[in-house]
């Protein structure tokens, strides 16, 4: 297999409860550190993933009826490449309504608004390099995030090839 395209991947599914956000962060941070992102980059990845997961907890499911039903989970997939890390955070919830997506286009808007909303997607799109939202009403949402590594040499630091 081509070394360049060979990937290492992880999948994690987790109950839709905010108490587990830090478990997810801890797992992601460990991996991001292993592939030698800088301290600053690790903390950007950490918060981007947290925001995507927090959105699932806050928006994706109808808690009173959905919680802990089969399939109603936070899904996280991590893929490690030579040139960076891809993290996909998904749900099988109601989907993002079109008029809600990318609500905060700039921070000025956020700061002057009376309702402090939309910072989550702002953080995701600004702290990660490539970001794709897939959303379909009734079928859920996935946020695909990629962050490139600036320094290629450190990749095998933790013995990960």
């Amino acid at each position: 297999m081509d070394e360049e395209t060979k990937t290492i991947s992880f999948e994690l599914s987790c109950p839709v409860k905010s108490v587990f956000l830090r478990h997810i962060r801890q797992f992601i941070v460990q991996l991001a550190e292993d592939v030698s992102f800088s301290e600053e980059e690790v903390s950007q990845i950490e918060i981007a993933v947290d925001e995507a997961c927090s959105n699932i907890i806050e928006h994706a499911y109808n808690h009173s009826t959905d919680f802990d039903k089969e399939g109603k989970k936070i899904y996280v997939r991590v893929e490690i490449y030579k040139h960076g890390i891809k993290i996909v955070v998904g749900d099988r919830g109601k989907g993002i309504q079109p008029h809600h997506i990318h609500r905060t286009k700039n921070l000025k808007q956020y700061k002057t608004s009376r309702y402090h909303r939309g910072l989550g997607t702002y953080i995701i799109t600004n702290f990660m390099d490539d970001v794709l939202f897939h959303t379909e009403e009734g079928y859920g949402t996935t946020v695909e995030m990629f962050k490139y590594r600036r320094d290629n040499d450190g990749f095998t630091r933790a013995g990960i090839k």
């Binding site: 956000l21 925001e51 927090s54 806050e58 402090h116 909303r117 953080i123």
Partner: protein, 107 residues
């Protein structure tokens, strides 16, 4: 292994100032606990609330949004919300998002 705690370091009724030590992770889970403590400090009539962030390991948009709200609430009341000595990690997040100029931060 709670991951979050708040401790009152100082309550001065003369200067009407209170200082809270915020430890651990301020995220969507712990923000309710955080806000309850700020509400309590306000109810007690403190005009200056100092948040000691030197042991705060992490903050997400939930915490930042809350700080935005309380900064405004305190200001509207003629009081002040001060963030004391944030860790480098937390300060960097504020800074990257442009909040280092909006919050009242004492490093």
């Amino acid at each position: 292994m709670e991951g979050f705690s708040i401790e009152t370091l100082k309550e001065e009724s003369d200067t009407s100032e209170t200082k809270l030590l915020i430890r651990g992770f301020l995220d969507a889970h712990t923000v309710d606990h955080f806000e309850r403590s700020l509400d309590e400090a306000q109810e007690k009539g403190f005009k200056t609330i100092i948040l000691d962030f030197s042991s705060l390991d992490y903050i997400s948009s939930a915490g930042i949004g809350s700080l935005m709200n309380y900064t405004k609430i305190m200001k509207d009341k003629g009081g002040e919300l001060i963030i004391l000595r944030p860790t480098d990690k937390v300060y960097r997040i504020f800074d990257l998002l442009g909040f280092s100029k909006i919050f009242n931060i004492k490093r």
